[in-house]
């Protein structure tokens, strides 16, 4: 198999091993090769066990920092009853998944589904392997399997007091049929699930040894820098390669699809330098006159439009509002946001003899394989994919534009691996942005200050309309209503409710951005509910409690956050609290923020208390890490983030104009994990939604200023 393309996987692994060593070896090796190399025996499809008991758990999802590699390994290892100290993890290669009829299921890593979307079948995989190992031991001893038990990678036959290690029976176990009727453990029997074991992927990240896709080195490799039409939807008209052909290191200047041009050079630095000097003419197209003010005006037309896609309705909103003692209305808005992964988009591709091989950081290995096949014009079976850990994903690397480009370039330089790296500026200006939206909220309060009617009208861009129009349902983008579906929306006591969405699309590409629509929806709703509480003269916590009486899980996390934060107790002088709750990705979250704002308007976030109920918890340490990180991601957006459009293109290009949170901005985050059990919720995204409203509501408490448009840095908080 490795001889199919002269530049074999083994030679690549040799390169990696020389630089990276150890753990990296497991990545992406087809099982038979891996077994041959490492001496591991496939037992079922999810584990390989070596004679020395080393247990490799196969991972189909992608590790991008969220800890899914460790969590998934815990799920398998728990059912397997193996000793955690023997556990390693290795990616299933997309071509192996393809060849074996997608035996490892969905490789897509997004929507906080890594754990909750795989939990059943990976645990069954661990349980099946355990049953096979026990059966093999029982056969060797000539005893009934039912008399044997397993723990810590050792099988025991109690009646005869015999024991045998997994590594000793793995070879025989691997020949047995894989049982399908395995019984999973009950939560009370879990030994690894729920334990805060250390991540499996830390060591190489401390020494520079971790090989990210951008670090891939291959014999004869060339490097490519790319310029894409700055105006979204525009195309490449011409370029003058002669002007740069004599520049150092330059080998080729090639068109990439319809809308980009790349310089291929010995070094990426050469390619980037030459590209900057390349005369390029673009057909900017119809988008070239669009700017942010026009988009803002377009969205405003949706706020009162008659036509809107329905999200949720019950009661009679018109009558409810008409009969209310008081009507309160507010319009909120949030801008386009870039993902800004620390590792810019990149992919290495080799096209040779009708076959393609790629090395890529991807949130969806299957999709990378398909994109490479399509770009090269080869069959799916003629593509090999080496997945590498992602230097950040956040939804960006579910899109395969960079994969496609690398293959399109490599196709024009056959026989040599081409590493395409986007500059930071290309990365920021050619994203699939978090969609721009506005929201008009209208509520009716009765004389006692109870909410009797609520209308939330979203206006703005639809991700599905852009990325997956086939998933639109009669013009409705259901994802636009994240956190506001009947299942998720906690304020079930409101008798008259209408949530709808006026779809207003532009030429700007939009996509899934960690937390997706829960982020801005939670800001709109939870800041507005705060407005209503103040209008009603009620405490924001009590006010929410009164509306969550039919939503016990929402209420429980809200109470957990409030209790830990000491809501209602005195704060230090000048420090004020804000509170909020939300549900998304199957999990319940709530947060309290403590902030101060100086007379000159300088915001300091002193403390965050965040509570989360993801049902079951696989690794509390990693849940806490995701909760902490969610505040960095969410608050970066709320405090700083905005991509603006001028002349049809993204203005901001780098961290000087697209600032994000740094260590000095980081508040102390106290995480309360309050699992109620019985379900598996997501962890990587749901907390982001409560980061913004908690802080914004605290800012209101501190200053009396209600921030309704983002980012915060565009507002003056000074009182002087």
């Amino acid at each position: 198999m490795s001889n199919r393309i002269p530049l074999g996987r083994r030679s690549f692994l040799g390169t990696v091993a020389a630089i990276g060593g150890g753990f990296a070896l497991g990545w992406g090796i087809p099982a038979r090769e891996a077994s041959a190399q490492a001496g591991g025996q496939e037992v079922g499809i999810w584990v390989e066990i070596s004679p020395d008991d080393t247990t490799v758990v196969r991972i189909a999802r992608s590790e991008m920092g969220q800890g899914t590699l460790t969590g998934l390994a815990q799920l398998v290892a728990d059912e397997l009853d193996c000793d955690w100290k023997f556990v390693q993890a290795a990616y299933v290669s997309p071509e192996m998944n393809l060849a074996r009829k997608r035996a490892w299921g969905d490789m897509s890593t997004g929507g906080s589904r890594g754990i909750r979307g795989s939990v059943d079948y990976v645990r069954k995989g661990g349980a099946a392997a355990r049953a096979m190992l026990i059966e093999a031991a029982a056969q060797r001893w000539g005893v009934p399997a039912a008399e044997c038990s397993a723990a810590n990678s050792v099988i025991t036959h109690a009646p005869s007091k015999r024991t045998i290690r997994y590594g000793e029976v793995a070879a025989a176990a691997g020949q047995l049929p894989v049982p399908t009727d395995v019984t999973l453990k009950t939560p009370a029997q879990w030994t690894l699930i729920g334990k805060g074991v250390k991540r499996l992927d830390t060591v190489d990240k401390l020494s520079g040894k971790q090989i990210f896709a951008i670090d891939v080195k291959l014999p004869d490799m060339l490097n490519a820098a790319i310029a894409q039409c700055p105006v979204f939807g525009g195309t490449l008209q011409s370029f003058d390669a002669d002007k740069i052909k004599a520049m150092p290191g330059v080998r080729h200047v090639v068109a990439v699809g319809e809308d980009a041009v790349a310089v291929v050079a010995d070094k990426w630095y050469h390619a980037k330098t030459a590209l900057a000097a390349l005369p390029i003419v673009w057909n900017e197209g119809a988008g070239a006159t669009v700017d942010s003010a026009q988009i803002d005006a377009l969205l405003k037309t949706g706020l009162d439009a008659n036509q809107a896609a329905l999200g949720q309705r019950h009661g009679d909103i018109e009558a409810g509002l008409a009969g209310a003692a008081r009507k309160i209305e507010a319009v909120y808005g949030s801008p386009y946001l870039a993902h800004a992964t620390m590792e810019p988009m990149n992919c290495t591709a080799l096209v040779k003899d009708g076959k393609v091989e790629i090395w890529v950081a991807s949130q969806n290995g299957d999709a990378s394989l398909a994109a490479a096949a399509e770009a090269a014009g080869v069959k799916l079976a003629d593509v090999k994919v080496t997945k590498l850990h992602l230097g950040g994903g956040f939804g960006r690397r579910g899109n395969q534009d960079y994969t496609r480009q690398a293959v399109l370039i490599a196709k024009q330089v056959p026989g040599r691996p081409i590493k395409l790296i986007w500059s930071r500026e290309e990365d920021t200006r050619h994203d699939f942005y978090r969609p721009i939206t506005q929201c008009k909220l209208t509520a009716g309060l009765d004389a006692a200050g109870n909410v009797v009617a609520l209308h939330a009208r979203l206006s703005g861009q639809s991700i599905l309309a852009y990325l997956a129009p086939q998933r639109m349902e009669n013009g409705v983008d259901k994802a636009a209503f994240q956190s506001w579906t009947e299942e998720e929306f906690g304020y079930r006591t409101i008798p008259n409710l209408l949530i709808d969405h006026a779809v207003r699309n532009t030429h700007v590409p939009v996509g899934f951005w960690r937390g997706v629509n829960t982020n801005q929806n939670a800001i709109y709703m939870e800041c507005f509910v705060d407005e209503l509480a103040h209008a009603a003269g009620k405490d924001p916590l009590d006010f929410r409690r009164s509306m969550l009486t039919q939503s016990p899980k929402h209420l429980a996390v809200l109470n957990a956050a409030a209790a830990k934060a000491g809501w209602g107790t005195p704060t230090p002088p000048g420090v004020f609290r804000g509170i909020c709750q939300n549900m998304g990705y199957g999990s319940y979250t709530a947060a309290v923020a403590e902030v101060s704002v100086s007379p000159k308007g300088v915001l300091k976030i002193h403390r965050i208390v965040a509570a989360t109920d993801p049902g079951n918890v696989v690794n509390p340490q990693q849940v806490a890490a995701q909760v902490e990180g969610s505040f960095v991601f969410g608050l970066s957006a709320v405090l700083f983030g905005a991509v603006t459009i001028d002349k049809g293109r993204a203005v901001e290009g780098n961290f000087d104009t697209y600032p994000v949170m740094r260590l000095a901005d980081m508040p102390k985050v106290e995480t309360v994990i309050a699992p109620s059990g019985g379900f598996w919720g997501g962890v990587g995204e749901p907390t982001i939604a409560v980061a913004g409203p908690a802080v914004l509501n605290a800012i209101f408490a501190a200053t009396g200023k209600r921030i309704r448009t983002l980012p915060l840095r565009q507002h003056d908080l000074s009182s002087a």
Binding site: I19, E63, G65, K198, R199, D201, T202, V203, D204, K205, L206, S207, G208, K209, Q210, F212, I214, D215, K217, P219, D220, M221, N223, P248, G249, D266, K267, W268, Y269, A340, T341, M342, E343, P344, H389, L390, G391, G392, G393, F394, I421, S423, R424, A625, E628, G629, S630, F631, V632, F633, S636, N654, F655, D656, V660, M661, R662, L663, A664, M666
Partner: protein, 171 residues
């Protein structure tokens, strides 16, 4: 012709190339390169050491942090020709085994990295801070470590720097 990293090439690097002597992790290395080339790309593409990362190219994010004579420096914005005799330390040379520097020990203890891409730079920034300020306060850490982490590991970085300080103090 063979380029300095062993890759074959048919082309001379450019008229401006000169031989530059660099001291990297205690080893003197000759590099044939245009002196305007940023140190980051010389490390990554000429010398072949990829632990130092590209994040922004304009000294904003710190993913490219190395030590020049012990001082944290953003290699993406330092022309290699200006390095002179300064001793360059990269993440690969922070400790002999890649694990035993107090900052690395503390990072492991706190399970700091998530995606890990920025961590070479974070670790180098932390190590440089502790060199001049063995017992930094939170405010000192905030001021000294301005590297960007998008996963949001800042809280654990802060805790781990304190742990590293106490480990170094005991050593």
């Amino acid at each position: 012709m063979v380029a300095p990293d062993g890759q074959p090439t048919e082309r001379i690097w450019g008229a401006n190339c000169i031989m530059i002597k660099l001291s990297i992790n205690g080893i003197t290395t000759d590099v044939d390169v245009d002196p305007d080339t940023p140190l980051l790309w010389v490390l990554r593409e000429w010398v072949g050491m990829t632990g130092t990362k590209y994040g922004c190219g304009i000294a904003q994010c710190g993913a490219c942090t190395v030590h020049l004579d012990g001082v944290a420096s953003r290699s993406c914005s330092i022309p290699v020709g200006s390095v002179g005799n300064a001793k360059i330390t990269t993440i690969e040379g922070l400790s002999s085994d890649g694990l035993s520097h107090p900052v690395q020990i503390a990072w492991l203890q706190h399970d700091v990295p998530q995606c890990g891409y920025c961590q070479s730079g974070q670790i180098m920034a932390a190590a440089a801070l502790l060199r001049t300020n063995p017992k930094p306060s939170d405010a000192d850490i905030d001021e000294a470590i301005t590297n960007i982490c998008r996963c949001g590991t800042y809280q654990r970085i802060r805790e781990a720097v304190h742990t590293a300080a106490s480990l170094a103090g005991k050593a």
